[in-house]
């Protein structure tokens, strides 16, 4: 057997391979589910479908979660395009969330709402940006390993979140912040959905709209802007970048600040539009999942939305079968894990060609 690198693969074949991988993954998942619950897998998948699309509310939840996941992926895109392993989205998101909650808790009703939003958004962008900029800075100057640096920054952010949760806990002793601005004079202040109309779908509609705009903007930034071009050149060859007069260090720092800022913005969305609270699970591992999403989508924001949709669908569906068939909710992580393994593995067949050696004469 001989393995060689492929020059490229036609688009339809590539998608066929990926589709095949997903189908195979669903089959394996079906086998796992069957082994555990001994039910007709078709029923189980029907139940999953119901869990994701069953009611209008469920669809809104699906849209909301997939959009937040995509938002983080969009944030990671410029860093990955530069071949910079930012695995610190979890932390960047959390610090963005902390800043958002800070203004909501302390300044709701004290400043005009529009100003409150400006403060929330700007500070979330800055906080996330700083969290991304630091590893970029150290990479640029001392070539400090960015994977390990951003990983540590995650946990510093998590502890920082715990610190503020303890500080802002409400009611005292609950060890949680509770829903911010739930009632009274400041009812729903700082909730995005409350700006124009009310209800959860207003919140989530805003999330979807904003993230779609972000996706378009990021697509344009990466593919049509001068900075996006510089990122791509640096990612492929630092020497070529230097040759063309691109200042590589600056690109590292600038790009990581942007990457972190968007992840911080995802934290703003998670707090202001979704949970209206802050906790260590505000990011909830999505910062890590988004890495996989961004990588599999090859940094294309629209493909990210597709992959996010698939993963969120599996997540919602698995929760549904968990409740329908009396399993626990962690089944969704297993199901997603299997799908991701298969999609990851399928990349091999896109990049390499396997030839079985002909018998020797």
């Amino acid at each position: 057997m001989h393995i060689s690198k492929r020059d490229g693969i036609v688009a339809w074949k590539a998608w066929l391979v990926r589709l095949l991988a997903i189908v195979l993954a669903l089959l394996v998942d079906a086998i796992i589910i069957f082994a555990v619950v001994r039910l007709n897998p078709i029923d189980v998948y029907a139940s999953m479908f119901n869990g994701a699309f069953g009611t209008e509310k469920k669809i809104w939840f699906l849209v909301r979660d997939l959009m937040i996941l995509s938002c983080i992926g969009i944030g990671l895109a410029p860093a990955f395009k530069m071949r910079f392993w930012n695995i610190g989205a979890e932390g960047q998101m959390l610090v963005g969330g902390i800043m958002t909650a800070f203004w909501m808790i302390n300044f709701a009703g004290k400043v005009p709402t529009w100003l409150l939003f400006v403060l929330m958004i700007v500070s979330a962008l800055i906080a996330g940006g700083v969290w991304g900029f630091l590893p970029g800075l150290f990479k640029a100057i001392w070539n400090t390993n960015e994977t390990l640096f951003t990983l540590m920054m995650n946990y510093i952010a998590i502890q920082l979140t715990s610190f503020f949760v303890a500080k802002w806990e409400n009611p005292p002793g609950s060890n949680s912040v509770g829903v911010i601005n739930r009632m009274g004079d400041v009812k729903n202040v700082g909730w995005i959905g409350n700006m124009f109309s009310k209800g959860y779908n207003a919140d989530y509609g805003w999330v979807a709209a904003i993230v779609l705009v972000l996706a378009v903007a990021m697509f344009i930034y990466l593919n049509y802007s001068k900075q996006g071009y510089e990122i791509a050149v640096v990612g492929d060859s630092e020497n070529t970048a230097r040759y063309a007069g691109i200042r590589v260090r600056n690109v590292y720092m600038r790009t990581m600040a942007i990457s972190g800022a968007i992840c911080g913005f995802a934290g703003f969305l998670a707090v202001s539009a979704v949970s209206h609270t802050i906790s260590t699970s505000t990011a909830g591992g999505r910062g890590f999942t988004a890495i996989i999403v961004a990588w599999l989508a090859k940094m294309n924001p629209f493909v990210m939305i597709l992959i996010s949709a698939l993963l969120t669908f599996m997540d919602k569906g698995a929760s549904q079968i968990a409740s329908d068939f009396g399993l626990n909710e962690y089944v969704s992580q297993i199901v997603s894990g299997v799908i991701l393994f298969f999609i990851l593995g399928s990349e091999f067949f896109l990049n390499y060609r396997i030839q079985f050696a002909k018998a020797k004469k």
Binding site: F138, T144, T147, F149, A166, I292, Y330, S336, G337, N351
Partner: protein, 348 residues
Amino acid sequence: MEGLLSFLSSFPTLLHSGVVFGTVIMFGALGEILTQKSGNLNLGVPGVMYLGGIAGLAASFLYENVFCPGHGIEPVAWISVALSLVSCFVAAALGSLLYSFLTITLRTNQNVTGLTLTIFGSGVANFFGGSLNKLAGGVGQVSVKVASEAYRAFSFDLVATVDSWTERIGFGLGTLIFSYGFLTYVVLVIAVGLWFFLSKTRYGLSLRAVGENTATADAVGINVTKYKYLATCIGGGISGFGGLYYVMNYIKGTWENSGTIEGLGWLAVALVIFATWKPLRTIWGSYLFGVLYWMFFYVAGLTRSSQEIFKMLPYVVTLFVLIMVSLRKRREDQPPASLGLPYFREDR
């Protein structure tokens, strides 16, 4: 002053807690050092620890609560322990095998594959952990009493004797050193053994060559693929014991899904950096991490919020070490040079 005194008096207890958590972290880190020395950066450590923990627990549970009652016999401690140890190792190694197959044979990205393994492993563990809880009749009810007690057993006589020797200094040295289950000492043997393997044997030399300069290792005839697979799978098995230790020794043979294992798993990754890939340094490093983890509990006058700042210490210290290492550029402290890179011998 009073705060300092109370802190000092509680110091032995703090050290004791530090050793327990330190052991979990040390298992994880030692396995990951072995893995990373082959050039594989496996961010699936938390997932692997989860897999090891649940598999060990499930094996003991099935033996003690299903097999033995079914046959009307009393569970035997050593059998239950042996079953859980073997299952733990096998399950964790299998998880790493999956990672190895994807990254080494299919050449997928190591970071992404490792993270997926963490998601998958914690899913599997918490899923079955939850099911076990349900089988046992409710949360916190999984009881593998026999195994857990065996895991935590130590010689009271020895502890009492040594304590009495050190009575005069008001410090229970026996309690501090001898009051843990056997795995606490096994991990030290593994640390020394790993150090010996890496620095004193030809196989260790070959393994390090694979992680440092894969092409050179290949050129002198070392079977790169075999080394990578073996190091990653055995490393995963060792990391898995961290999860088992947590389950059996710390939460006494039950299951909880508080996410503590995941947190400790990431600390294990941090410890690898902190110890600059040296097994012997993980010994004091892990106890230091364990102590830092619990410090907040023993420093008087901390509010609940400032306690959280204290818990940040292990990560901040690790970050500091990471920066210093890249700043000083001492060659012996650097990560394996091929860490994270796929290897593909294009021709032949």
